[in-house]
Structures are given as C-alpha cells and as structure tokens.
Amino acid sequence: MLNLKIIPIIILAAAFVFTGCSDSTTGADDAPVSEIDIKTVENLHAPFDRENPGSTPFVYFNLRTGEIVDAAEAESDNWDIGFRGTSIIINAGSSGPGNAGVVMIDVPFDEVSIAPSEGYRQDSADEPAITGNGGWYTYTGNGNPPRAIISHDDTTIILKTADGNHFAKLNIMSYYEGNPDYGTEEFANFQTRPASQHFTFKYAIQLTEGLRELK
C-alpha cells in the first residue's frame, strides 16, 4: 500500500541577484543561482521481511525528481537513496553504481545552511553511510516507549546525489505510519502503535549543480 504524497515548495531565493550585475566579461548567466526545492514525503512504505529478504527489495527514491524509482533501475543513476526496514542505502559504493555521498551531522534540519565540501562517505559492505541505531534513529530497547525506532529530529543527513552534482539535506521524521507522537501511551503500547516501516522525511535539494547552499 503505497501512500505517497509529495508537497513541493519551490523557493527562488536568489531571483533578484541579476539586477545590478551586468559585467560583460563574466556574464550574468554564469553566476550560479541558488534554487532550493523543499519537499516532505509522507508514509513511504518500505517493508522488510527478514524471513524472506528477496520478497522485499529496497524502495528507491530520486531526490532530484522527488519520485520513487522502479527496482528494475537499481543499476542506474536514477535513484539517490533507498529504504528497506530500518536500512537506508545510497547510490554509491557497495549499494549502487552512482556517486552519491553522505555526511551525518548533529544539527537540526532548519539550521543547516550549507553542505560541507568534504567528508562524504559511501556505503561499504561492512557499514552503510547512513548509520542506523545511533545514527538516524535510536532503538529504545527496554526504554520507554519500548522497542521503538525513534528518529532523531536533530540529526541531518547531507547528501550528494547519485550524479554527484547536487547537494541536499534530509531528515527522517518518522518510521511509523502517520508520523505519530512518540510521547503517548498509544504509541508505547504495541497493540495501538501505528505500523512501522513507513517513512516520513523532509528534504531540501539545491537544484543548481555544484552549489552547496541549502538554505
């Protein structure tokens, strides 16, 4: 049951940059213009059947288009990030042919204004670039709420897209259907907890190639 809603908000932050600048040698057209696209994806269902992993492939997502990509295109640059259960992969290294990269920083999404120039990691067979427990989420174990995957609201994943050309920032808002409040008895109780493996995330992508500005 795929319940995918995309809310695009286009911000043309630097639309007025051209005004005073008309030097013929550089050319107004060459000045890079920051154009940031902010989207929220709700309830992306990414099931994982541990008993039968083959039956549940990753759900591939293209941040540039904001769309889910068919699993048949796994061996292409057409996707940037993939989801399956609590595993999140990027299109690079051991996970795909692309040139994606990731840094995870402990800064809230809204406060990240620029992507770092270096430090990007790729998936390896040993370790995914997007760290699970302690990375994008905390598994609560015997804590309260018990045995829950609590996404970190102050962790931001900064990505390079699979084509290596765009920077983006992303925050996983929830692993549960409907992005529920973690601080309720309804969530703490397994009988009333919403279904897991439903990702809600927001991201902002710099549409201008090579620009690191994210805000």
Binding site: V103, I114, P116, D126, G141, P145, H152, D154, F187
Partner: protein, 761 residues
C-alpha cells in the same frame, strides 16, 4: 492480663524487702500509658550524683547518700518518652512504692527495629534513617498489599515496570532489597519485584531503611531495605479474620490464629485475594491489570528448648493465577486473539537455632530456602490451540552462621559468615546455570555515652561469576539535647548482575542478532566462530574484563527535632554516587551484518535530595503528618557530535554532561490525618502528591528534555472506622476519591471504594 498480676505480685515482694530500710531508699514502678512496665528509664536524683535505671519489670531502687533532706526531686528520662519530674517527700517513711507513668512522645517509640543493625534496637537509637509502618496504620488505611502501604510513605514512589515496584532515593525498584522476617524475597521480572505479591494482613510492622545496607545484607541493598516483620504469637490464644470487598470485584479474605502454649509460639496466617482487574486503555484488548486470584499461607513459630537454646521457623507459600488477553499477527498479517494464563508461585522457608552459652554471647545458625517460579501459556482464543509456553524457575539457599558478643554495656560486636547458592532454570539460560556467593561480615557498635554512638561494619562477598565486593558502612548518632538528635552515615552498596547480564544466550532468529551474558559471551562467540557466523570481533575476547557489580557510595545525614512532646520534625539529606551501571554494547559483528551484544559496566548516575517529615498530635485524638521529598537524579551522558564551522566544514565535538533521568519526580509528598475518638469512631484522610516527571523519550537521546515532562498529580484516600462491641471493627473507605486516572500510571485504578469487616479475639 496475667502479666499485670505477675507484676503486682513482684511488687509485694519488693515492698516486703524494702520497707524496713526507711527513707534512705526510694523505690518505684514505671509504666507507660497502657500500663506496660518500662525498662531502661533513667532515674536521677536532682543535685546529686545518685542515679539508676529501671529493670525489665519497670522497677527501680535508689539509695540516697544521706537522709538529711526533707524531699528530693527525681528526674525520669527515657528516649521516646516525655521527661518527667516528681517530688518525693522523705519526712515520712515510704510505705509503698511510687507508681510513675511516663507519656510517650509523638513519634511512637515502642518500635524496636532489627533491619538497621541486625540486632534489636530502639528506633530512636538507630544512627541510619529508618522508618517504621505499624500494623495499626496498615489496618486503618485498609492496606491489602505491600504496594498499597508503601505508596503512602514519604520518599517512596510507586512505579510500574513489569510489576509494581518502589523507587527509593531515585533508584529503580531493582536496587531495593525486599525481605520478609529477614529472608530476601526473590523473583524479579525486569528488575522489579512485584510488591502486589505480598499481603500485609499479618504484618506486625514494616521497617524501611534508606541508603545502602550491603554492609549487612549484601546484594540489592543499594537504595535501601524493606523488611516485613510478620506477627508473632504473644498472647496465649488470639486470632482474627478480616474480609474486604470492593470495586472491580476485589475480594480479600484473611485469617490468622496464634497459640502460645507449652512453651511454643505459633502463628498461622492465610490470605485469599482476587480481583477482576481493570482496564485503563479501552483501545487495547489486554487489561491493564489482569483478572487474578492468589493465595498466601504462612506459619511462624518459635520455642525455647532450654535456657541456652531457642529455635524458630518460618514458612510462607504464595500462588497466583492471572488471565489476560493479547493479540498476535499471524503470517498473513491478520491479528489473532490470544488468551494468556500466567501462574506464579513463591515458597519461602527458614529455620534458625540460637545458642546462648553465656550471658553476653550468642550464636545463631540459620538456613533460608526460597523458590520462585512462573509459568506462562498463550493459546489462540478461537481454536484453543497452544501458541507458546514458557517457564522460569529460580532457587535460593542461604546457610548462615552468626555470633554476637557484648563486651560491655557500651560495646558490642556482631560477626557472621555464610554462603548463597542460586540456580535458574529457563529457556534463555541454557544449562540451568548455578552460582555461589560466599560472604563474611562484621559490625561493631560503640556507645561513647548514652547520647553518642558509632557503628561500623563491613561485608565481603565473593561470587563465582563476577568481581568480589567489599561493602563498608559507618554511622553515628549524637543526641545534643533532649529535643534534638543528629545522625550521619556513609557506606557502599552493590547490586549483583542479574541472570540476563550473566547467563543470557539469546539469538533473535528473525532479526539475526545475538545477546550473551558476561559468563556466556566467550563461549558463545567461539561457537558462532566455528559456525562461520562471525565477521569481525570488535573487542578482543581476552581483553573483556570480568563484569563488576553495580555499586554506589552514599552519604546520609539528618536530624530529629522534638520542640514539644507533640511535634516532631525529621529531616534527611542524601547523596548517592552510582557507578558501573550495566548496559549492552556490541562486541562482534556477524556475517549477516547484525551484531553480537554483551554487557558492560558503563553508566554513571548520581541522586541527591532531601526528605522532611512533620508529625503532629493534638488533643490526643488526632495525628497528622506531612512529608516531602526533593529529588535530583541525573545520569552521565557522553555525546560525540558532528557539527559545522562557519564554512560548513565538519567539526567533531565531545561533550559530557549529567542529564535528568526518566520517571523521577523532583517533588513528591504526602499528607495524612488520623482521628480516633473515645467512643469507637475513627476516620482518616491521606493525600499523595507526585510532581512532574519525564516518561517518554520523544527524541531518543536517553534523557529528559523539557518537552518530555508529564504533569504531576495528587491522589486522595479516606477511610471511616467504627468499632462494634469488643471484637469487631467495620470500615468503609475509598482510595483515589477524585478518580484520577492516568494511563501511564497503571497502578492507579481510578476510584476504588471498599468495605471491610474485621473480628479479632
């Protein structure tokens, strides 16, 4: 009644001897309000060095230095009683003994406690914080289970985690030792010993010691000790029944019978307790508290075989069955209803022989044997087919040998040694692991004066599975004057790693990870390595340190002030530094990408706070009390964070801070007022307040943020009692009168009314 006759006859004897000695001798009898003789009353002649102490029959005899005065003033003092002056006329020969009645102070002092020092001691003379809940108080409040009565004590916060436990000085229930007549109660689930297992209907008193007591009691006595002292036969023949019925179809039926004949004291007790349970969350098929019924049977007996030998024995058996429902998702993802049947049983037995070869010396040999077991069965409601079955069994045996020697009136020593044999039998602990603890302890008390005492003790525990423990403790009290007394204690407490932490051998077949206890990890990883499942070992196995017990150093200091005989103010300040708290961490990576976890000593915590209590009596009929606890409990949190500099480049930062812990209320308190009329009516009103506390970790950072606080609440309980005739008492009451319901506090059932009838003879 026969005792009074004996005292009277001994008087006559004293008079007969005393009368020829004329006025230089003063003799008398001292008793309390209830006519019981009072021992240890200090009787001093004013402006002279002459003094004496009353004996066990309350009698004293004073010889004056010379007979020239016409009268003297006697100063009578005893701890726990109001000091009294009496004038004695010496001009005429004393023809009969003086009869003096001393009045008790507000803080009832007949309480003799054993938990603080393992010797009988007047509560007023104990140098560590001890409080006593009397059987009378439990009766007046209609308490059925241990959790009911502990919830109303200052500094005791009831919390729910796989059972109803008690938080003391900010410690989880795991860290409080619960005992019945000095025998530890076993059988914890996720660290919590469910206090609703223990009926308090046949209880003489409950002694609560706060602060670490491992120097005497060993493991688990880290936050404190709750020792339940059951009734002992004192009269020749006595007994009673109590029955209570209340909301949720809750029935409690208790009976006890005591016989003290042919030199044997016997007390038999039985309790039946059942309830339909209740549901706080209507959206869930499981009841919050399931339907249950349980039975408790106990026997306590003792006899004196000769002047030198005493033997005593104690047996207690409990069994409970619970019925509940739950759901499970079947392979096609559909929810199916399950019926669950849970049983738990608890057997405790102990025997003791006390040998007193000389007046100042005694030896005690004892054996404690405990068995706790649970059985759980889940079956499909539709087909009655079995879904799963599990069982857990735990045994505990403790032989102990103890010697006590009184060197002089001011010095006494206690020393002991023993062993604990434990075994656990459950699926998750393959091979029925068993383990042994050997221990030695000693304690010395020195009364430098009647007002100044120091007690020091130390215990050594050597365990087959984890590091040895040395637990010292020193405490002192100093009575500055009649109305103020200070006390201070410092000591160490520990909690042994639990079964999981030692012996777990668990692989989650669906997720693919494994968890091993510290005693099974090396063997478990070797096994997985030969199976080819290990990808990488993160921590070399030979560098894994032996696991240590969780331990704490604590300081407690406080004072009692009695400005008037009817008012007492008691205060205690505490600080606990806890280290080596046990957490899981990965030790190896499996070829399937999952990890192997084991247990490490990592966490640090501190708790500190203050506890204050006012007790007030007016008009002899009203007792009021007000209690308050301030608590600050913080956990050490080490965070490695990746941040950005001005250019957006990555910077790594490590910060260590102490952050608030979950489920701790900074403020909590209680209020109570008890009224007792002369014509058989009694009434009481009790209020319990719990301040804000963190409950759900909304952001997974492991500590309480300001947006994670749940609101505080107050619960009011009341009861009305009427004595009918000489034998019967009827009672009606309501707990949680204003029907406070919080789904997160499952032990609060909403408003509960009840009626109770008790008959005693």
């Amino acid at each position: 009644m026969s005792r009074v006759a004996a005292i009277t006859s001994s008087f006559i004897l004293v008079i007969a001897i005393a009368s020829p000695l004329k006025a230089q001798i003063i003799h008398g009898f001292i008793m309390n309000d209830e006519g019981e003789p009072l021992a240890d009353v200090h009787v001093a002649v004013e402006n002279s060095a002459v003094s004496t102490v009353s004996n066990e029959s309350g009698l004293f005899r004073l010889q004056l230095e010379n007979g020239s005065q016409e009268s003297v003033s006697l100063l009578l003092s005893r701890i726990g009683y109001q000091t009294d002056f009496i004038k004695v006329d010496l001009s005429e020969p004393q023809s009969k003994p003086l009869t003096i009645t001393l009045k008790q102070k507000i803080y009832r002092s007949e309480a003799v406690v054993v938990t603080a020092t393992r010797t009988q001691q007047d509560i007023e003379n104990v140098s560590i914080p001890v409080s006593v809940v009397t059987g009378e108080e439990m009766h007046k409040t209609g308490s059925m289970r241990l959790s009911d009565i502990l919830s109303e004590q200052t500094g005791m916060q009831i919390v729910s985690d796989h059972g109803t436990g008690v938080q003391i000085q900010g410690f989880d229930p795991d860290y409080t030792l619960i005992m019945i007549d000095g025998s530890p109660v076993i059988g914890r689930t996720a660290g919590t010993l469910d206090l609703s297992r223990i009926s308090v209907r046949n209880v003489e008193q409950i002694e609560i010691v706060k602060g670490p007591s491992s120097a005497l009691w060993g493991s688990d006595a880290l936050a404190g000790v709750v020792n339940i002292i059951t009734k002992r036969a004192t009269e020749e023949l006595s007994g009673g029944i109590t029955t209570r019925y209340g909301k949720n179809n809750t029935l409690d039926l208790s009976g006890d019978f005591s016989l003290n004949k042919f030199g044997v004291n016997s007390h038999i007790f039985g309790n039946l307790n059942s309830s339909a349970g209740y549901r706080l969350n209507p959206g869930v098929v499981s009841q919050t508290v399931p339907e249950f019924n349980n039975v408790t049977i106990g026997y306590r007996g003792d006899t004196r075989l000769s002047d030198q030998f005493e033997i005593s024995g104690n047996i207690r058996w409990f069994r409970e069955s619970q019925q509940n429902r739950s759901i499970v998702n079947n392979q096609s993802g559909e929810a199916e209803l399950l019926n669950s049947d849970n049983f738990r049983s608890d057997f405790m037995g102990s025997g003791e022989v006390k040998f007193t070869p000389a007046n100042r010396f005694n030896l005690t040999m004892s054996w404690i044997t405990n068995h706790y077991g649970t059985e759980s069965e889940l079956s499909f409601a539709a087909t009655d087919q079995l879904y799963s079955r599990s069982a857990f069994n735990q045994t505990f045996n403790q032989p102990e040998f103890k010697a006590a020697y009184r060197w002089s009136d001011s010095q006494k020593t206690l020393a002991g040694m023993g062993a604990i044999f434990e075994q656990v039998d459950a699926e998750r602990f393959p091979g029925q692991p068993s383990f042994t603890t050997q221990f030695l302890f000693t304690q010395h008390s020195w009364s430098l004066s009647q007002n100044f005492e120091v007690t020091g003790g130390i215990r050594y525990d050597s365990h087959s599975e984890y590091s040895s423990q040395l637990s010292p403790k020193i405490s002192t009290r100093y009575r500055v004057s009649d109305w103020i007394q200070f006390r201070a204690s410092a000591g160490r407490g520990f909690k042994a790693p639990d079964f999981r932490q030692l012996f777990l051998d668990f692989t989650n077949t669906t997720a693919g990870y494994s968890v091993f206890g510290s005693s099974t990890v090396v063997e478990g990883i070797e096994r997985q390595r030969t199976e080819g499942a290990i990808d990488q070992i993160l921590i070399p196995l030979d560098s894994l340190n032996e696991i240590r017990a969780e331990s704490s150093w604590a300081l407690n200091t406080g004072f009692d002030i009695d400005p008037t005989p009817n008012l007492r103010f008691r205060m205690n300040l505490f600080r606990n530094n806890v280290s080596d708290l046990i957490e899981t961490a990965p030790v190896a990576r499996l070829t399937n990408g999952q990890s192997v976890f084991t247990y490490f000593n990592v966490d640090e915590v501190y708790t500190q706070g203050a506890e204050a209590e006012f007790r007030l009596r007016f008009a002899e009929q009203i007792d009021a009390s007000l209690g308050y606890q301030y608590l600050d409990a913080q956990r050490r949190v080490e965070r490695e964070r990746i941040l950005q500099d001005d250019q957006g480049e990555l910077v790594q930062q490590t910060n260590v801070s102490f952050e608030p812990m979950f489920n701790r209320s900074r403020h909590s308190g209680n209020f109570s007022i008890f009224y007792e009329s002369n014509n058989g009516w009694g009434a009481n009103l009790r209020g319990l307040f719990r301040g804000r506390f963190g409950l759900f970790d909304r952001n997974g950072n492991g500590f309480v943020d300001s947006n994670e606080l749940e609101p505080g609440y107050t619960v009011w309980n009341a009861a009305l009692t009427r004595r009918v005739g000489k034998l019967a008492t009827i009672q009606a009451g309501a707990d949680n009168i204003f029907n406070y319901i919080n789904i997160n506090q499952p032990f609060l059932a909403g408003r509960l009314w009840y009626a109770q009838v008790s008959i005693s003879f």
